[in-house]
Symmetry: C2
Subunit: 247 residues, 2 copies
């Protein structure tokens, strides 16, 4: 830990002052152990290591914060939706803590200015903002305990950005939707990788979505998961439009 | 909630007294809101519903307790293993909160006597014991707050039953082990469903584990997942014995 302190202290007091005041505004309370917040916003690309050779980066705090976020959101949903079953609560929780939702919230809270990385601006991934919410939560927990972390989630995330009514109608995974739809309708569904250019320069995956032997849609993207989701989204809209026509 | 109270109050005060004192011994503190603990141990098979037609059962509390358990264990591992990365912490957490571990702990804590179900003894699944730890934790959280839930996990579960050294060497999923092993050794691995009797009376799944085109082992079980795990376990032992022979 000595090395971490030394490294943090080597930065100018001006820089420290800005970090502290920006952080205080975001938190809504005074941080005590500022070093842990520095770690929460330090990306691996900074190439910093402690004396034992362990990288100094936000990822361990992200692991911790992810679990605390899930716990706070679970308690919130349990109380807020007293008549919904555990399956429904699980779905709602997934929607709230989804990467997309967290990335948006991280951007709006203004975490970008706090992140220390050597990633060029062009390559900056919004995922880093969602990750930072979680590592920040881990830091709050270690600095001030569970009640502070809980209060931060409730006031800064849930009350400001979470709209349960909207989320209830949101589809978080088109693939899951299509699989459930087919199970209910007793149709056979499969996602078939029709072409795999994963070893070429372009790294493209192509997926055919086949329902009861008929190809319904195709998806192509840089990962298998994304290509499946694209194919499923297209199938979703084609099913929706057929339902509308029948009405 | 009125109906729940009525139903709980209709039971004899003797029965209530036993439940209360057994529970108090297990918890190590006096429960305040006893009704929430009754729900934590009520299985769906009791066929109880509240006035709005929602089943009274432990499952919503299990959803809540599961998240709280994960949060407490994450903080414990974060502090206990300061040099391990987030991937390692995630693996260790999975081992601690695995169904098998929780079922064992539930049995040893003595939760079986508290569970109210209409499942015949022969069909009693140990999974219910693991589920009950989680629903109990959800109840503790609602009754007395996070610090009590945390203390319960630490004293009654972690300090009594969790041996990190042992867990570090434990393989929680043979399938994951085999996949990782093949990735490192640059071998191609596939799990092939060679026979699917899922529609017959016996409901059996057969899985062939093929590495670099050669069938290494087979597994057969009542679910695809179990059959894969069985095949992977057999492959694991066959790989281990080959390594020993080479030495």
């Amino acid at each position: 830990m000595k090395f971490i302190l030394k490294w943090f202290k080597s930065r100018s007091s001006n820089e420290d002052g800005t970090f502290y005041s920006t952080l205080k505004d975001i938190l809504g309370f005074k941080p005590k152990d500022i070093d842990i917040y520095h770690i929460a916003f330090t990306h691996r690309s900074m190439g910093k290591y402690d004396e034992e050779g362990n990288p100094i980066s936000f990822e361990r705090l992200e692991f911790l914060g992810d679990a605390i976020l899930s716990s706070v959101i679970s308690a919130y949903l349990y109380k807020e939706m007293p008549t919904k079953n555990e399956g429904y609560l699980t779905q709602m929780r997934s929607k709230i803590v989804s990467r997309n939702t967290l990335n948006d919230i991280g951007l709006q809270i203004g975490l970008k200015n706090l992140i220390k990385s050597k990633i060029p601006d062009k390559q900056f991934s919004p995922t880093l903002l969602g990750d930072s919410i979680e590592s920040l939560l881990g830091a709050i927990y270690l600095d001030r305990g569970y009640p502070y972390a809980e209060k931060f989630v409730m006031t800064k995330i849930v009350e400001t950005y979470v709209d349960l009514d909207k989320l209830e109608n949101k589809i978080s995974s088109y693939k899951s939707f299509i699989i459930e739809y087919c199970q209910k309708a007793r149709k056979e569904v499969s996602f078939i990788m029709s072409e795999d250019k994963s070893h070429s320069k372009n790294n493209l995956f192509s997926i055919k979505l086949v329902i009861d032997g008929t190809t319904i849609s195709k998806g192509r993207a840089t990962s298998k998961k994304k290509a499946e989701e694209q194919a499923a989204k297209r199938a979703y809209y084609s099913i929706q439009s057929k339902i509308k026509k029948k009405k």
